[in-house]
Symmetry: C2
């Protein structure tokens, strides 16, 4: 919740600006309208010799659960650059041949996930500051009951299904509606 | 540029928070880190009986130029819902059968465009408040020299090319690097 104008420091009112159709945070003094929009989370499905790279989270939410490397997209980068950056930061792995695979709309937390499939450049990986461990899992080793987020479960299940079907990986957009304790 | 904390109203400093690796707007009093992330623009390529629907912009930037219906994604909606909403708001048209077609990263203005191809439900359309006019264009009528944004030019050109090739519309992610006067 916004209480003060980030431009001038005056108080904020929530009201519908002229010509708009929904409530916004509007400055009582300088009339700046402060829009709040969904955020993009970019991540990777990194594969190496048939195995998939997961990170064991060292931070909340879902500390101690396995996740795909993913995080908030930053200003000044592309979605693909962001996905590669997160994979380096969380799993100390370099990736190549990135291709968009899944878009997950998670409207109840105002997030849009974009997962890229990719390959590890040389198979090396290691825990970054937000990870306790990283590991390459064979399909039958994936810890399905210890995954951090619904988006991770879905992306992995779809990816392994598509790979089984013969390496056609059609891009799909899906909505995640189920509420879990945190995150999509 | 952020000058005041939206949570407590105190002054903002730009510095690298502990454990981070880039400068953020940090509150001098309550230590809140104010992240600023890229925004999503959702839009449609609405087709009806082989024609494509464009809107003549009534507002800056690029007032008086033709555009696809598109705008900022709002909290609480999916990308597909946002694209359909924008098409209603700008072109008073109802759309169906939405399918993701293009993602355009526009890193120099911190935006990500997502265009959905779709069909008009009944062929009706009309100018919303941000449009002077709306029109269904046959491919040979598209006003290529009067399009508002590079993303619109690219999306239309790719779409017509793909349609010519026989109705396979593979999803692609592209980066728009060229700077124009405003917008992607
Ligand atoms: Zn103000
Ligand atoms: Zn503060």
């Amino acid at each position: 919740m916004m209480h003060f104008c980030s431009a001038c420091g005056a108080g904020i009112s929530y009201r519908i600006p002229h010509g708009d159709d929904r409530e916004r945070a509007v400055c009582d003094a300088c009339n700046t309208v402060h829009y709040v929009n969904p955020r993009i989370i970019v991540g990777c499905l990194p594969e190496y010799e048939g195995h998939l790279l997961l990170c064991l989270r060292s931070i909340e939410p879902r500390k101690g659960f396995w996740t795909l490397p993913a995080g908030f997209m930053e200003n000044g980068e592309t979605t693909e650059q962001g996905a590669a950056r997160e994979t380096w930061e969380e799993a100390r792995a370099r990736v190549a041949d990135l291709a968009l695979y899944r878009v997950y709309d998670v409207p109840y937390i105002n997030q849009v996930y974009m997962f890229y499939r990719c390959t590890l450049v040389d198979g090396t990986h290691g825990a970054g500051p937000e990870s306790l461990d990283t590991r390459l899992f064979a399909p039958e080793e994936i810890p399905w009951d210890e995954l951090a987020f619904p988006s991770v479960y879905r992306a992995l299940a779809s990816y392994l299904h598509d790979r089984e079907e013969g390496d056609a990986f059609p891009v799909q957009v899906e909505t995640i509606l189920r509420r879990r304790d945190a995150g999509g």
